[in-house]
Amino acid sequence: MTRPRIGWIVALLAILAAWQAWVRLRGVPDYLLPAPTDILAALRDDRGRLADDAVHTAGEMLAGFAAAVGFGLVSAAALHFSATLRRAVYPLLVASQSVPVVAVAPVLVIYLGFGLAPKVVIVALVCFFPVTVNALDGLRSVDPEYLRVMRTLRASRAAIFRRVELPWALPSAFSGARVAASYAAVAALFAEYAGGSSGLGETMQTATAQLDAPLVGAAVVVLAGLALALFAAISAAERLAIPWARRGM
């Protein structure tokens, strides 16, 4: 287990060293391409502002993600139980994915104002699809032999859902949640670009306008940290909730 861990650290350090050397040796000005040490300095100097931004953006990510998981799981169950609903809604759901968030975001800002609401809705919209589709796939992929046996073991429809279909679908639902977690940061950023008064996206916009590239880089680092943290939290929850998933199936 130690080898691959050391591997990515070595690779990252090598890239950073090459980057640093390129910028310093060629004398690239920091408003074009800041060196890693410039970004580090920005992280230190602007830590108060970045921390406030991070809290703000993390709130949008978490609220949107949680809403997406909640609505996604309920929708997946509803689509699973009703073939009519599935035929009516599923194609629309897939088609809705071809509408770019960048296009929808400004419209939502017009509807919902510049507060927290449009950001949460945008994050939820982006995260909803992978959660729903993966959970639904999981529910629909149960080995029919299990369903037959359950029927001879006195199981009602509700018992089959609770004791077989739901646990069976959990690994798949968790992969959907992991994909959604990796989308949440980008979605929150888009939302703030479209109409934000605070958050990492807003800081990146103002810093870009002021040619403060090191601060932009620092905001990117913080955003990546948030995305990784959410992803790691979902993976940890998965290990705790379904320890059997890596072994049993």
Binding site: R148, T152, L153, R154, R163, W244, A245, R247
Partner: protein
């Protein structure tokens, strides 16, 4: 406990598209009797079990279990033990066995308690909390059998319960099953491709031909009919 009930299969025919799986199959199992169904793979044995269980219906002919002819009625009487153990990895061994009790509305703790009593009886003591991947093939089949028993149905349908086991474990498990079945008189259908296994475990053995499945002959279990009858049955299986 339910009253024991018999099975009557009359002139059953079942096709899947152009493939005739079963063609005019007729046999019966008296209340409390263990009947073996022997045939090569692909002779429709599993299909027959699923139809007896009320999970499917024949294209023609009738099946009655304990007097019930409709799917729901048959389902009410039968518990099916599938070929693959189909234990659920998200439950421990005891939780798998107590599943039918929980399905029937028994409180989870009481269900586990009753399953634990059966575990002691079936030689599963000490494996209550084991997960399916920690159990050997033979142990998994025992847990699956406990689960089937705890459905508390008068009719047991066993589909190749030892099909996936090695020869030594298989012999052990046959002896184990003979004891377990002897301890509780129920009607049982045992599907297998091994004639000697069926003769050892069953009161009567029905031999099916392959594709389409038809009844070739019937034998008494425990050596009844002697070597000539066995030779005739083996001939039909070839």
């Amino acid at each position: 406990m339910h009253a024991v009930s018999g099975i009557l299969v009359t002139d059953v025919t079942k096709s899947y598209g152009p493939v005739v799986a079963l063609d005019g199959v007729t046999f019966g199992a008296g209340a409390g009797e263990t009947v073996g169904l022997v045939g090569r793979s692909g002779c429709g044995k599993s299909t027959l079990l699923r139809m007896v269980a009320g999970l499917e219906s024949p294209d023609r002919g009738g099946i009655s279990v304990g007097g019930a002819g409709d799917e729901g009625g048959r389902l009410e009487h039968c518990a099916l033990m599938p070929q693959a153990d189909l234990l659920m990895p998200w439950r421990d061994a005891l939780g798998n066995a107590s599943l039918p009790l929980e399905n029937a509305g028994v409180d989870r703790r009481e269900a586990r308690g009753r399953a634990a009593e059966l575990f002691a009886e079936l030689g599963l003591e000490g494996f209550e909390r084991a997960r399916s991947w920690e159990l050997s093939g033979g142990m998994r089949q025992r847990v699956a059998f406990a689960r089937t028993l705890l459905a508390e149905k008068p009719v047991l349908l066993l589909d190749e319960p030892f099909g996936a086991l090695d020869a030594i474990t298989r012999t052990e498990m046959q002896e184990w099953l003979a004891v377990a079945l002897g301890a509780r008189p129920r009607t049982a259908l045992l599907v297998t491709h091994d004639l000697d296994e069926a003769l050892r475990l069953c009161d009567r053995v029905v031999v099916l031909t392959a594709r389409p499945g038809r009844v070739a002959c019937e034998l008494d279990g425990s050596g009844g009919g002697g070597e000539p009858a066995r030779e005739q049955a083996l001939g039909a299986l070839r």
